[in-house]
Amino acid sequence: MSKKREVASGKMGLCKRSEDVQMGEPIITVRDLEVNFNAYAGTVQAVRGVNFDLRKGETLAIVGESGSGKSVTTKAILGILPKNGYIKNGTILYDGDDLVKYKESDFYRLRGKKISLVFQDPLSALNPIMKIGQQIMEALILANHMTKAEAKAKALDLMKAVGIPEAETRFEQYPFQFSGGMRQRIVIAIALAADPEILICDEPTTALDVTIQAKILDLINDMKRERDLSIIFITHDLGVVANMADRICVMYAGKIVEMGTADEIFYEPAHPYTWALLSSMPDLDTKEKLFAIPGAPPNMIHPPEGDAFSVRNKYALAIDFEEDPPYFKLSDTHYAATWLLHPDAPKVEMPEILRNRIQRMKEADQKNGE
């Protein structure tokens, strides 16, 4: 409790953008994390050596295709890996403890209370035969040992805080009576019930419409500001994180291939996979042929030798097929794992469609600045 007060009174409560956030101390430190799954066909190497810090008060986005290991990473943090999955190596430091060594009973102190999770599909995250109000109260009673009356008052407050109109009526209703957006608000309310420090959002808006998506993203941003949350935001849609993220990790085949502040990733992307992700979707001014990544993500039972992306990468160098690239430092906050950044590598430009778009964005930015 004392810790929370410190945070609230300190300057962390005020920081919004990447420049301030860099000074925040790490709240979760993940080092050399490797997660494997035992499958029928062999061992799936889902996460292969991931390193990142989540700093206090920041939103860290993890972006990648399905199967890149982004969800598995956060599941490892919360100790909710499926039965056939295990952490092979690495440490996850939170509050001085290594979560990798935690027993199931230790996680009870953590899940929902310190670290909460918002799932992708709000319908399957809620119990269909339990009233909405009861579901929020359940979280409050379990985590905060409240009485029923206290819990009901707090639950109604939470429902109002996440923007549910007529909370008293809605309290008595069931999930099927809620629309998708409203359901996701309830899931967020439950996640916030025990005042966690960290919120992990696993594709929270993928199942929602554009207009609803915008509202939910706003809500998450508001909650972050009000409650000094640190957020890990998982998504495959780079557009979604542009206004959410302070820092972005791009994951591919179980590794982080590029890490940087939002501005660095969007305006100065360096890894061919980030280029491909950014230019594979049209924006409103795109006229050119889209830059599609050929093929599909690799089979992680037999991860390819060298850079896992090299097979699909038209900029791949010979060394990419033999040796895994190390991280090259572009700035204090910007790292990318690609041999293209090696001093001896040939100079390669990003795809034209992306260069044009960044040019356009910079021009628009200047115009607005004037």
């Binding site: 554009v210 207009t211 915008a214 849609d237 491909a276």
Partner: protein, 341 residues
């Protein structure tokens, strides 16, 4: 009965003679569903008085949030539902009348559909060549070798290989399955395709592959496409004309550039303002508009809404009272554009 079937045939022949530029014409299409809730019958107006037309080789994008009736519109056109009212003409042939054998044959041989979910829309017990060749078989191509040849050719065109023909759908990835769905739709040489959210269920990198494929095939086959989607960036990239749907009504319709330059209906504005852009600086400044349908005050009498052509080819659904406001807005935007040069 016989007479009616003859009528269809006569109409088909007539249409072949005078090939009009307009391929599909939808006039006041209405599709209502009855649902029973606690003993009471409710009327769900899934599609309510929707009119639009698509010209040869054109792509018409239908956007709106889930539940707005865009999928129902597509399904009603192809007669997966029987419309409650309104008219649909394909090359001048009415598709809305009584379903006869001839009419069904006419519809299925001219319009094909690509579905959203590539897993649910392919029969798991059929091989790829059976799935793709089924339409050919029904249309009288009885010889297996002949069919096999066409199927293999089609597979290659959508970026798959000959050896894929004997495999089952579960052996493919999502993007590949969607390619099979596209091949199945195109193999009978339809004149028009209804693509219902063809890329929404796919992964980002695979979405681009499928969009590029559809774009190439559009040119190669000279297809007319009704493109249904909720992702406005994709719709803008892909379509010539866009219709915006809201709760069963088509609230605004215009050519692609026109709609993004002069968005007039408040719902269109809200929709446009909600598109996430991969640009952090612009995103931080973005003002999101929310739409409140209660601003309209429509009734059945004088204030009944209908379609107004605000600019050439640009239709807005509004009442007489609202129309001057939209016109003023148009001239204001024009002024701004002129100032910018």
């Amino acid at each position: 009965m016989e007479n009616k079937e003859k009528n269809v045939q006569v109409a088909i022949e007539k249409a072949e003679e005078n090939k009009d530029d307009v391929v599909l014409e939808v006039k006041n299409l209405v599709m209502h569903f009855k649902s029973k809730k606690r003993g009471r019958t409710h009327l769900v107006k899934a599609v309510d008085n929707v009119s639009f037309s698509i010209k040869r080789g054109e792509t018409f994008g239908l956007v709106g949030e889930s539940g707005c009736g865009k999928t129902t519109t597509g399904r009603t056109i192809i007669r997966l539902y029987n419309p409650t009212g309104g008219e649909v003409y394909f090359n001048g042939v009415p598709l809305h009348g009584k379903m006869t054998k001839d009419l069904r044959k006419f519809i299925t041989s001219n319009i094909a559909m690509i579905f959203q979910d590539p897993i649910a829309s392919l029969n798991p017990r059929m091989t790829v060549q059976e799935i793709i060749g089924e339409g050919l078989k029904i249309r009288g191509m009885k010889s297996f070798d002949e069919r096999h040849e066409v199927v293999v050719d089609m597979l290659k065109r959508v970026g798959l290989m000959e050896e894929h023909a004997t495999r089952y759908p579960h052996e493919f990835s999502g993007g590949q399955r969607q390619r099979i769905g596209i091949a199945r739709a195109l193999v009978t040489n339809p004149k028009m395709i209804i693509a219902d959210e063809p890329v929404s269920a796919l992964d980002v990198s695979v979405q681009a592959q499928v969009i590029n494929l559809l774009n190439d095939l559009k040119e190669e086959f000279g297809l007319t496409i009704l493109f249904i989607a909720h992702n406005l960036s994709v719709v803008k990239y892909f379509s010539d004309k866009i219709g915006v749907m809201y709760y069963g009504k088509l609230v605004e319709m215009a050519s692609c550039d026109e709609l993004f330059k002069y968005p007039l209906h408040p719902y269109t504005k809200a929709l446009l303002s909600a598109i996430p852009q991969p640009d952090p600086h612009a995103e931080r400044k973005r003002v999101k508009i929310s739409y409140d349908p209660s601003i309209h005050h429509y009734d059945d009498g004088e204030n009944a809404p209908h379609y107004f052509e605000v600019r050439p080819g640009h239709f807005v659904y509004c009442s007489d009272a609202e129309y001057p406001g939209y016109q003023a807005e148009v001239s204001e935007i024009q002024k701004k554009l002129q100032e910018k040069g």
